[in-house]
């Protein structure tokens, strides 16, 4: 179906760029097995200029995913392992006195990369967490009264252990809102797991693969995302979703205007990934569970509910106008 829509467009360059991204998606799918939807969401999140939160138990390939993203998209990569004794300066960098020049010199921290993996972000103290989140929000770091811009594109992938594990400082809701999406990886299917067991080491595979995109291409696509057309009818649908969360008493609080914008950007990125020039209700539906899952808290926490269930329930409650 979407091929038909694509046919109605004339922008060949656009198609070519998107084709490059599809190539990147294919490479990623070869490294991370059986997670096509999550990988597409990661790329969409990046193109929408948002940051990503991956929440899952250890060992399902969170770190590998982040590393693969950086590698295939041709981005510089740094990994920060968050621990309870990590200090803000360990992330942003420190000013060190230079004896020769008789002045302080700023040594940039690991945050100065295109893609930063903040591993187990909820193990650090709130103070350190907020240093990261401030940098995410402002795209810059201020040290000793001097402002240092972060490289563009700048993309944080934070991983988080489920909050019931011991030794964690759960991120407050206001900071969760800074992440455009939250995804879960989950266990691989049996066939995929078998392939994982038989196949090569993922790290070696990663080392062998070549970048399929560049920071420039990503930035270009980020600009293009905001121009993807959203019709009145689509905005009606988006607003009725948002209104539903505000009026309905199932939720502690409704979606914020920032969440509404995030939902629109993510949908636009998703549409662009499918080489469409307009957003469809299906685009909203595809990204919504990842965009609202960490922002909405149902009043009655049902035990054993799947993490995406909140989003799916919401979608089934709101008719498409």
């Amino acid at each position: 179906m979407h091929h038909d829509v694509a046919q109605s467009r004339q922008d060949i360059k656009h198609v070519a760029d998107a084709a490059k991204l599809n190539e990147a998606l294919d490479s990623l799918n070869r490294i991370i097995l059986g997670k096509a939807v999550q990988i597409r969401l990661c790329v969409a999140c990046m193109m929408a200029g948002g940051h990503l939160l991956i929440e899952d138990i250890p060992g399902v390939g969170k770190t590998t995913l982040a590393h693969a993203l950086a590698r295939i998209l041709g981005l510089s990569y740094q990994r920060i392992q968050f621990t309870s004794d990590l200090l803000p300066a360990d992330i942003t960098g420190v000013s060190v006195y230079d004896r020769e020049q008789a002045a302080f010199r700023f040594h940039p921290g690991p945050i100065f990369s295109n893609l930063v993996l903040a591993d187990e972000v909820n193990r650090a103290t709130p103070k350190t967490q907020s240093a990261l989140l401030e940098a995410m929000e402002e795209g810059q770091v201020t040290a000793d009264g001097e402002t240092f811009g972060l490289p563009q594109p700048f993309f944080v992938v934070a991983t988080q252990n489920p909050t019931y594990q011991i030794g964690t400082f759960p991120l407050p809701e206001s900071q969760l809102d800074r992440f455009l999406m939250r995804i879960q990886l989950g266990y691989p299917g049996p066939a995929m797991e078998r392939e994982l067991l038989r196949g090569d080491d993922r790290r070696a595979l990663l080392a062998r693969s070549r970048p399929a995109a560049s920071p420039e291409l990503i930035q270009q696509m980020q600009k293009k995302v905001t121009t993807v057309f959203a019709s009145e009818a689509l905005l009606d649908y988006l607003q009725s979703i948002v209104r539903y969360t505000r009026q309905h008493t199932d939720y502690e609080s409704g979606l914020s205007p920032r969440a509404a914008i995030s939902l629109l950007r993510a949908s636009q990125a998703w549409a662009l990934l499918h080489q469409r020039e307009a957003v469809l209700p299906e685009d909203i539906q595809a990204v919504l569970p990842a965009v609202v899952g960490h922002r909405l808290r149902p009043r009655q926490e049902a035990a054993g509910r799947e993490p995406d269930q909140i989003g799916r329930d919401l979608l089934e409650a709101v008719p498409i106008p």
Partner: protein, 652 residues
């Protein structure tokens, strides 16, 4: 399904509703009912806070039995509105103890509604209505909170929702009030209350009894005159008439003759409507002499007293035509004559001696009467609200010769005694005199403080003649009312306030409002209902007509409300594109393929193609057109035409 805090909140709301609905009943209840209510609410809240288990089942059973017996022992019955409300309250307390599930809360709230209504049976006043509206609001909020599946709403939100519900309910309530068939008769009457203390005239009179009444500022009745109102000196409102005198007190004739009187119209009639406050006695007040009356079932006794068939326990309204110039009883029977001359042996000897002296001086009855009245006005008699008490065996003597300070009953009584002693038949009449016009609604308001006593004597050929010795002593009492006749220090506080103009104005406004409330709310009976419907051109509605009208009005109101809500929450108007797509969906629906409301067009297209592979091409093309037209950046007429054409030949 519940967490503790939601349950606590439900309990809190229920407790609030209980306090609001039971509160006004408690002053009427025995102390143990109040204590029980407080105890049960407090225990239930504490139990919820501390997580105590609910009281044991057998303990609750025993307690319920005990309170039942308690109510029975307090009132001697479990019937009647007082015992009934007490029983309702204590049973609600018992229910509170075991409240856990949603249904229990619901039952509790329904009892609260009942108690809110019961308040009107005790205090049918305007402020009760205001309080009832507040109580219904609180109870409805509580009901809303306790029956919700989801956790309770924030108070403001719940309040807004309930306000809206009550506003929607108001027209229905008004329709029910105005159109519910009002059938006259005891079936609709309020059950009698035991031991209520209404103020009003008594069935006997002794020195000081009217004096006590004159301290009350309560309204006795209100009068609307049809035509010109009679002047103050003619406004004698007749109440109980006394024939029997024991030396100190006056009573009604002990053997009441069974015959009824009739008044022959003579002179100019006065037409008026009286709205009488309940006073728990059968007599109805009327101007001398009532010829005919309507709106009440009553009769005229042999002494021209208008009496209802049952005690006046609710506000009653009736119309009377009186003839002040009528001559009544030009001849009287020996019976009446002997009652009207009866005096106890050996009492009040000095008065008897005075009477003998008068008799020897004047031969004509008329001259004798004016001589007696002269004596009252010329000699040192004082009209006062605080007469010295007469405690001796000869109270009339004491008053006539020693104290000479008295209120109307002293004058009326001693005058009648004097008349009887000289051989003129005489009796004492009590009632009200005067009244005050309210400039706002033109009504005459007669208060308890207007209570009065005067005398009637019988003269051959003239019949019964009214003579008011108070008029001889204090003419201003008759012309301008009690307030001008007595000193400020003597009068009731309510009376004194009326000397201040602004307070007078306020009091008049309040009186007008109160009167309208009486007439249109409390007194809204069959007559008012018919009068109201007549304004709308309905001739003579019977109860069948009323039931039909009520059902019709309710149905119309509900339909109107439904229509308004449907309009308010109407679906947005479909434009051409949506209409075409809807027809596409309708056709697929008819062939057994249903699109869920949340299903996007592309997803639905995939599903439809899978189920109807024969129409794959058409379904894809129509969906593409729809998506381009509805979500695409450009909306071309050509695409719309294409979609219309595709749809024209689409037959799944």
């Amino acid at each position: 399904m519940d967490n503790g805090s939601a349950q606590l909140e439900r309990l809190g709301w229920s407790a609030a509703a209980i306090v609001v609905s039971v509160g006004p009943h408690l002053p009427r209840m025995p102390a143990w009912v109040s204590l029980l209510t407080l105890g049960c609410v407090a225990w239930r809240l504490a139990a919820a806070f501390r997580g105590w288990p609910t009281a044991w089942r057998w303990l609750r059973m025993i307690l319920a039995g005990m309170v039942f017996v308690g109510v029975y022992m307090t009132y001697g019955t479990i019937n009647g509105i007082e015992a009934g409300s007490a029983l309702l309250i204590v049973m609600m307390d018992m229910k509170m103890l075991e409240t856990a599930r949603r249904r229990d809360f619901q039952v509790l709230m329904f009892i609260c509604y009942f108690l809110v209504m019961a308040q009107m049976l005790f205090e049918p006043a305007m402020w009760t209505l205001a309080y009832m509206i507040v109580s219904v609001f609180v109870t409805t909020v509580a009901l809303l909170q306790v029956v919700r599946e989801a956790p309770p709403l924030p108070p403001r939100e719940a309040g807004r929702l309930v306000s809206r519900m009550l506003v929607y309910a108001t027209p229905l309530m008004l329709a029910l009030f105005l159109l519910f068939p009002r059938i006259p008769g005891p079936f609709w009457a309020m059950p009698a209350r035991s031991g209520s203390a209404s103020t009003g005239l008594d069935d006997q009179m002794s020195p000081g009894s009217i004096n006590a009444l004159s301290l009350s500022d309560d309204v006795a009745f209100r009068v609307t005159f049809d035509g010109e109102a009679p002047p103050a000196r003619l406004r004698y409102w007749r109440g109980p008439v006394f024939h029997q005198f024991d030396g100190a007190s006056w009573r009604e004739a002990s053997r009441m003759p069974m015959w009824r009187s009739r008044v022959t119209p003579q002179g100019t009639p006065i037409r008026y409507r009286i709205t009488l406050e309940p006073h728990d006695r059968p007599w109805l007040l009327a101007l001398d002499y009532p010829e005919s009356w309507s709106g009440v079932r009553g009769y005229l006794t042999f002494d021209y007293k208008l009496v209802a068939r049952r005690p006046v326990e609710q506000l009653s309204s009736y119309e009377v035509i009186s003839y002040p110039g009528a001559i009544v009883d030009p001849d009287i029977s020996e019976w009446v004559r002997s009652w009207s001359l009866q005096l106890p042996e050996g009492r009040n000897p000095r008065t008897a001696a005075l009477a003998r002296r008068f008799r020897s001086q004047y031969a004509s009855d008329r001259e004798l009467v004016s001589a007696v009245l002269n004596r009252f006005s010329k000699e040192e008699f004082v009209y006062t609200l605080r007469p010295p008490s007469l405690i001796g065996a000869h109270p009339v003597d004491e008053f006539m010769f020693d104290t000479r300070r008295g209120f109307c009953e002293h004058y009326a009584s001693s005058f009648a005694v004097l008349m009887r002693a000289v051989g003129i038949p005489a009796r004492v009449v009590t009632g009200y005199q005067g009244g005050q016009f309210n400039p706002i609604n033109g009504q005459l308001t007669v208060r308890q403080s207007d209570a009065h006593a005067w005398a009637e004597i019988w003269l051959p050929g003239e019949g019964w003649v009214r003579l008011d010795p108070t008029a001889a002593v204090a003419p201003e009492r008759i012309e301008r009312g009690l307030l001008d006749a007595v000193s400020t220090a003597d009068a009731a506080p309510g009376l004194v306030f009326r000397r201040i103009p602004i307070l007078q104005r306020l009091s008049e406004s309040w009186d007008a409002i109160d009167s309208a409330w009486n007439e249109w709310v409390l007194g809204y009976g069959p007559d008012q209902q018919i009068a109201l419907l007549r304004n709308f051109g309905v001739g003579n509605p019977d109860w069948r007509w009323l039931v039909a009208a009520m059902a019709g009005t309710l149905a119309a109101l509900l339909a109107g409300l439904a229509a308004w809500l449907a309009w308010r929450y109407r679906p947005p108007r479909l434009d051409e594109v949506q209409r075409l797509y809807q027809s596409f969906l309708d056709r697929l629906q008819n062939s057994g393929l249903h699109r869920e409301p949340w299903e996007g067009p592309v997803d639905f297209c995939h599903r439809a193609v899978k189920q109807k592979p024969a129409h794959e091409g058409a379904i894809r093309r129509i969906t593409t057109s729809y998506v381009l037209l509805r979500y695409g950046p450009r909306r071309s007429q050509a695409e719309l035409d294409r979609m219309r054409k595709l749809l024209g030949s689409f037959r799944p």
